[in-house]
């Protein structure tokens, strides 16, 4: 009986056209993996001739894993990667440009938020996001109430005043922080892409090859940020031990405000046992210039996908970046949609939690990283030299600019 069954199964299997199997890789983040599993089921139901195999790896090992597999002709056909890694991936020839007939550049630029243009390298698009992330201020409503702060901050001036009322203790021993300062959290993005622009500067030249924050605006940005620690004593980095110090401390109810990305919504929603809210990143009273840092994880097609596989990969990528998928992604992962249309959706913009992040999309800038780890280090060291060693912001900016320019020169040589 069993033999007969096996035989029958084999026959039916061979009778149907052999399905194309695609391998999809992303890093291991529980809600993303679960959502993707559901999406894959849906896609396979729509495309019976395509099978998708999802494989995930721990974040720390992810990049190495891709880098060592793709050149050997193994690994994924469709791969999920941080937009900041794209230049290196394209440079190494791991990704193929998205076929222009399936993904015309014009159509991409009219359907997706402006941030997507970081995926355009040498005039061609190499990847597309499902969702994007921006920054906003998370604040602890209960701590605000206790401190007598009635409204969440709209300007940086309000931000400092509110934090000063909330903070308890003094360095190096605080009990409650006004602002969960953490240079290597999201803060270095705030200085680079938000504050520099709000002070009237630009962090990089248009082609991204030149550091331009070694300027008046850059010094003002560095001064403003480091003052939060040295002058206003609103908090201290690494308040809680561990990897996500500022976020963990916020969730524990010990911090008045943190600046974090939309990707933190899920974690905070799950962990925080108090009333909290989200407001957009502040502006300065005088000029009201808005800016934000936008980032995303994008999906690209590797050089492994050829022929039938390439056609299937195109279908899968279209599915992954469709509005339907974006809506599912928002609901189950919490990352905001990459489509202009959805980002303009009034209900989403009015949402008390997602709203401030969606609001920032039109003026969100993404840094064109060529060596994300190295470029981050340059900034974090510069900030630390001011707040831990009393260096002047002017020197620190100069040092960061020199360090980062060296990295850029190494890449664009």
């Amino acid at each position: 009986m069993r033999k007969f069954l096996t035989l029958a199964l084999t026959l039916t299997a061979t009778a149907a056209a052999a399905p194309v199997t695609l391998t999809y890789w992303q890093y291991d983040y529980a809600s993303k993996v679960d959502t993707m599993n559901k999406l894959i089921q849906k896609f396979e139901a729509q495309n019976p001739d395509i099978r998708i195999k999802q494989e995930t790896f721990p974040y720390d090992a992810y990049n190495q894993k891709v880098a060592s597999s793709v050149p050997a002709g193994q690994g994924p056909d469709v791969v999920n990667l941080y937009y900041g890694w794209l230049p290196q991936y394209v440079d190494s020839g791991y990704l193929q440009p998205l076929p222009a007939k399936d993904f015309p550049a014009k159509q991409i630029e009219s359907t997706f938020v402006p941030m997507v243009q970081t995926s355009k390298i040498g005039g061609q698009y190499y990847a597309l996001p499902t969702a994007v992330r921006t920054l906003a201020v998370f604040y602890n409503k209960d701590l605000f109430k206790q401190a007598g702060v009635l409204t969440p901050p709209r300007t940086w001036e309000d931000f400092i005043a509110a934090a000063q009322k909330v903070v308890k203790g003094a360095p190096p021993r605080f009990t409650t922080l006004g602002f969960g300062i953490q240079p290597d959290g999201q803060d270095y993005h705030v200085v680079r892409e938000v504050l520099v622009r709000q002070f009237g500067g630009a962090p990089y030249s248009k082609d991204g090859r030149q550091v331009t924050y070694d300027s008046d605006a850059g010094v003002k940005a560095m001064t403003f940020y480091t003052d939060l620690y040295t002058k206003y004593k609103l908090g201290t980095p690494n308040f809680f031990p561990g990897n996500n110090s500022y976020r963990d401390a916020f969730i524990a109810g010990k911090v008045g405000m943190i600046i974090d990305g939309s990707f933190a919504i899920g974690t905070i929603q799950k962990g925080a046992k108090f009333n909290w809210g989200v407001v957009p990143l502040p502006v300065f009273k005088g000029n009201g210039v808005r800016s934000n840092f936008g980032s995303c994880w994008v999906n690209g097609i590797t050089k492994n996908a050829k022929g039938d596989k390439l056609a299937a990969a195109v279908k899968f990528l279209k599915f992954l970046t469709s509005e339907d998928t974006q809506r599912t992604w928002l609901q189950s992962v919490g990352e905001i949609p990459a489509s202009k249309k959805l980002a303009n959706d009034p209900t989403l913009r009015r949402d008390p939690v997602y709203g401030p992040f969606v609001y920032a999309l039109p003026f969100a800038h993404s840094t064109l990283f060529v060596d994300e780890a190295g470029q981050r280090k340059a900034w974090v060291d510069a900030i630390n030299s001011v707040i831990l060693q009393g260096d002047s912001p002017t020197n620190a900016v100069k040092k960061a600019a020199a360090d980062e320019q060296k990295i850029l020169n190494g890449y664009y040589k």
Partner: protein, 314 residues
């Protein structure tokens, strides 16, 4: 010792066999057959990769690039101008200079004390040994809380003594000693066990003779205990130095957010290699540093063996 066992080994087959040469050859062959497997293992897992690292260090080997151009000694020249490498080297030397003597003196001191007490000896040994078998990551995690400037009991204690609270791991000047303290504390148990074994190996009769001759106990320590512990001390210094020169795990796990400490203050050579190779994919440059580290370790070890090893004929 060595000479007598060799002599015995020579004589034994001569007595039992008519053709001593062939049996000896047979024994050697058997020995090498058994050694073949570990030898192969070492060859594949250790030596070949080492040689490959040497080769890699001559290339601009970035795993995210398709071309890996030959550079010659360019990576080594770049090293000479790399401030961060200089800092890592200095930090590593500091760790070694703090850690090795500290764990030697503390280990010996505790072993001597444990040798004296009679009650609960096993319990004390277990207590000192516990940190050594604790996973480093867990120990580092606890250490972070113990030395937390905000909530740590160490600062609470300092404040009780009216000493101002310290920044510890978040201060560029205190992060390295705090990290070194963790390593010393973790290794102490192993050192204690090592010295207890070394002390037990010294025949009691020497002390009895010394006592009859009227030697004081400090005299006995300096003239008998310390010289006869020389092999143990050499072992501890050499292996300890190598371990400190390769220090990595504790440093990585003590400062999660800012690996290598604030402003690179706890960065070691091994961690720098890791960050360059697996964080920034500069395999060639990282390999050049591994070669330099290898040479440094080799030289220091040879020097230590040359100058520390003493022969005492008591």
């Amino acid at each position: 010792m060595a000479t007598t066992s060799e002599a015995r080994g020579d004589r034994a087959p001569a007595r039992s066999s008519a053709r001593p040469g062939s049996l000896r050859r047979h024994q050697i062959l058997t020995a090498y057959t058994f050694l073949l497997l570990p030898l192969l293992f070492f060859l594949i897992v250790r030596f070949i990769p080492t040689l490959m690292a040497l080769r890699l260090s001559l290339f601009d080997w970035n795993i995210l690039k398709e071309q890996q151009p030959f550079l010659g000694l360019e990576n080594y020249r770049a090293l000479l101008q790399d401030e961060k490498f200089g800092q890592a080297l200095k930090n590593t030397a500091l760790y070694t200079l703090i850690g090795v003597p500290a764990q030697l003196v503390l280990g010996l001191g505790i072993a001597l004390l444990l040798g004296r007490i009679r009650a609960f000896q096993g319990l004390y040994r277990a207590l000192y040994f516990a940190p050594y078998v604790t996973p480093i990551v867990a120990a580092a995690w606890v250490w972070q809380w113990v030395f937390s400037p905000q909530f740590g009991p160490v600062n609470t204690f300092l404040m009780w003594l009216h000493i101002p609270p310290q920044a510890f791991l978040t201060s560029p000047s205190q992060a390295l000693p705090t990290t070194a303290a963790l390593v010393v504390w973790q290794n102490l148990g192993f050192q204690v066990v090592l010295f207890l074994a070394g002390l037990a190996a010294i025949p009691r009769v020497y002390y009895e003779v010394a006592e009859i001759d009227g030697a004081s106990s400090p005299q006995a320590f300096w003239k008998i205990t310390l010289p006869l512990l020389n092999p143990t001390i050499v072992f501890s210094v050499v292996t300890g130095t190598i371990a400190y020169l390769q220090l990595f795990t504790q440093v990585v796990n003590l400062n999660f957010t800012d690996q290598g400490g604030p402003l690179g203050s706890t960065m070691t050579v091994a961690l720098y290699i890791y960050q360059l190779a697996f964080g920034r994919y500069q395999m060639g440059y990282a390999s050049a540093i591994t070669v330099v580290l290898f040479v440094i370790i080799l030289l220091i070890t040879l020097l230590q063996l040359r100058f520390l090893t003493r022969r005492y004929d008591v």
